[in-house]
């Protein structure tokens, strides 16, 4: 416990508890990314977080619940994106995708794609999260078509596959040692990609 935590004490909103929650969930994400489900135990998460096991048992009953909570905390919800215009929406979506693939959660996200289906109670949450993200992204493109920013005959599937696929490919194909450099320049990449796709689509109309 840090001095700041010790001096806070129990209070409405319990900031000390929230800080411990946050620390445990970040440790759970890190550990899962490194060792996967086969090495994911309450004991290992407690050690990674530097807290006692009782702190974990107080909060979560099963390791499936703990991992689900860690994922929910670590992954931004793209349903919240709605800037009122397509370029703004794509910039924000691109930023969130880059964080997911280049940020501290990247290995957990990659591993989840591979292992989710084998983890009972997590597979369903992961599928649900993916589906709601896809649904939100499709709604974003449909709004742009309704506003006349994209031609009516734009293929929503191809537009999103190319946009999301390019950012994912760009980030995951970067060797580990170059990721910080790519992350620093990602805004420029996303801007160029938006120009490439939108310039192309509107020229066709």
């Amino acid at each position: 416990m840090t001095a700041a935590e010790a001096s806070t004490g129990p209070a409405p909103g319990r900031p000390r508890d929230r800080e411990i929650d946050r620390r445990i969930l970040a440790a759970a994400t890190r550990l899962f990314g490194r060792v996967g489900w086969s090495g994911f135990t309450f004991e290992a998460v407690a050690r990674e977080a530097g807290v006692g096991k009782p702190s974990l048992y107080l909060r979560w009953q099963t390791k499936e619940q703990l991992l689900s909570a860690a994922l929910a905390a670590g992954i931004a919800d793209i349903r919240d994106i709605d800037t009122g215009e397509l370029r703004g929406d794509l910039r924000e979506l691109g930023r969130q995708l880059s964080v997911l693939r280049l940020g501290p959660e990247r290995r957990a996200v990659e591993r989840m794609g591979l292992e989710a289906r084998e983890i009972p109670g997590v597979a369903e949450r992961w599928d649900h999260l993916r589906e709601s993200q896809v649904h939100a992204a499709r709604a974003m493109v449909h709004r742009a078509i309704d506003r006349g920013e994209l031609p009516a005959r734009t293929s929503v599937t191809l537009f999103l596959d190319t946009f999301i696929g390019a950012i994912t490919m760009h980030a995951t194909s970067t060797p580990e040692r170059l990721k910080p450099e790519v992350a620093a320049k990602i805004d420029t990449y996303v801007e160029d990609l938006i120009g490439f796709l939108l310039g192309a689509l509107t020229a066709q109309s």
Copy 2:
């Protein structure tokens, strides 16, 4: 040993050995996709392939060598693609990428992306393979620019990130139960994607 194998006997070219090689390498790929490096042992590969351990030791000295051989055998080399025109090249590249992401090697490929860096002697071969594939794909687009099939100012990086990224995204985001259906329609998807990107790029010029 099957009756066919038993009747073949040792002969020039040793077809019986090649069949056993093929069976072991396919089993190694399947096993690695399922359990990853932590469960990848000579014993487990021998069991998966239905051969004795000596058959493996005769051929490979270390499990790193065995896994490298399995990858080399399972992954098509895109350096061989050169149909003389961009659409033909993209069709073939798209087909190879789809097989990689929807075919029997898909889980091994996904897992390799995640675990390669932790496997000594495999990380380097995997990086080398990836780099030579990227190099070959870039050369393909440059040839198209030289032939005047694409505008000279086409961004090779964005073109390939969108093309390769879209196919990868389309294949990997499909739930397991729908993969056969998506695989059956992949040629149409690749054709639509080529039309989407080329139609767009040439309209701009």
